[in-house]
């Protein structure tokens, strides 16, 4: 059995340690918000956080995640109210939506490490997340908006 902590909940799964984390998340645990796009770390649809860092779960083996803290799109916030989620909603960023759990998880690392990102910072953080619908201009806009919301949230506290 392999023990994982996902979205602050403990799970124990019977899986081959070589199994991609994405398989375990979707097929064994039932957290299907994380998407499968390419399976070879090329598209970003499967990004989750491993101890706070963005990792591509399609190439991350369950053995790397064992005993570690994983956060998926389902656990990004308690009430779908992460500043990025609010901004995404406000701007209606998604088209088909398939890439966006990965986009959001990548953007969340950016905003945590750089609360006031420039366009260049956004490019540096997001260049590995592909959107076949081409929602890039809205993604950029929404990250800037989320940065403002996050700032306001912090000032309010």
């Amino acid at each position: 059995m392999i023990n994982l902590t996902i979205n602050q909940k403990p799970y124990s799964i019977d899986a081959d340690p070589e199994m991609p984390l994405l398989w375990a998340l979707r097929d064994l645990i039932g957290l299907t918000g994380t998407k499968y796009g390419c399976g070879v770390a090329q598209c970003g649809a499967c990004v989750v956080h491993l101890n706070g860092e963005a990792v591509r779960s399609c190439v991350t083996k369950v053995s790397r995640a064992a005993g570690q803290k994983i956060v998926t799109i389902e656990g990004l916030s308690k009430n779908n109210d992460h500043p990025l989620q609010l901004a995404w909603n406000e701007i209606s960023v998604p088209q088909c939506g398939y890439c966006h759990s990965g986009q959001l998880m990548s953007a969340a690392v950016l905003l945590r490490e750089n609360p006031n990102p420039t366009d260049q910072d956004i490019d540096n953080a997001m260049a590995g997340n592909i959107c076949r619908c081409g929602t890039y201009p809205r993604i950029r806009k929404a990250i800037h908006l989320a940065a403002e919301l996050q700032k306001k949230e912090r000032e309010a506290k």
Binding site: A41, V47, V59, R64, D123, G128
Partner: protein
């Protein structure tokens, strides 16, 4: 008679093993004796240079801040950036895709626990360097990551260096075996670490 030949051979082998043992050299309290032989040194560096400029080594020693990729050393897809520590930026850190070991299959990310570029304050560029420039850079602690001669000697056994010879599917190996590279590396350094003459 036969016995004495065998005993002599065993004795010689033991001696050869003893003097060739790297640990022995590294743990020795005295400075590694350097016998200066510029011809042997420069000749060995020709081999070293061929390995260092091969894609498996040079791709992570780019002249810019984006690593290179593939046997043709093109800019890494998605343009991940070096970052301060050489491990990438934000959601584009090396470890996002590069695992502790190679991911199976062509065009999937190669891996090593230490996967990174040289850090921003010590870029250790190989790309575009002549043999003369690279030789001088490699032995200058201000440009080689503060490595002493002893640390340089040991560097041929570094895990990430060794990865070059286990690069995973679809990647060409450096132009000689690791053992041959190591021998050339040590011959170059132990004979005075001479730089080839710069071409006019």
């Amino acid at each position: 008679m036969i016995m004495s030949i065998i005993l002599t051979m065993v004795g010689l082998m033991a001696f050869a093993w003893h003097t060739g043992n790297r640990k022995e050299i590294l743990s020795s309290p005295v400075v590694v004796p350097i016998k200066k032989d510029s011809i042997a040194s420069v000749k060995a560096f020709e081999k070293v240079y061929r390995v260092l400029m091969s894609p498996r080594c040079m791709n992570c020693h780019p002249s810019g801040d984006i690593p290179l990729q593939g046997d043709d050393s093109h800019l890494h897809e998605m343009f991940p950036k070096r970052g301060k520590d050489g491990k990438g930026l934000f959601a584009m850190k090396c470890g996002s895709c590069h695992q502790p070991s190679n991911t199976p299959g062509k065009h999937s990310p190669p891996g090593n626990p230490e996967w990174h570029l040289p850090p921003a304050d010590m870029k250790m560029v190989f790309q575009g360097k002549t043999a003369a420039e690279l030789a001088k850079q490699l032995i200058d602690p201000k440009q080689n990551g503060n490595k002493s001669m002893k640390q340089l000697l040991a560097h041929s056994e570094d895990g990430l260096v060794r990865w070059g010879w286990q690069p995973g599917e679809g990647r060409t190996l450096p132009p000689m075996s690791h053992a041959e590279f190591k021998k050339a590396w040590e011959t170059w350094l132990n004979n005075g670490a001479y730089a080839p003459k710069s071409k006019p």
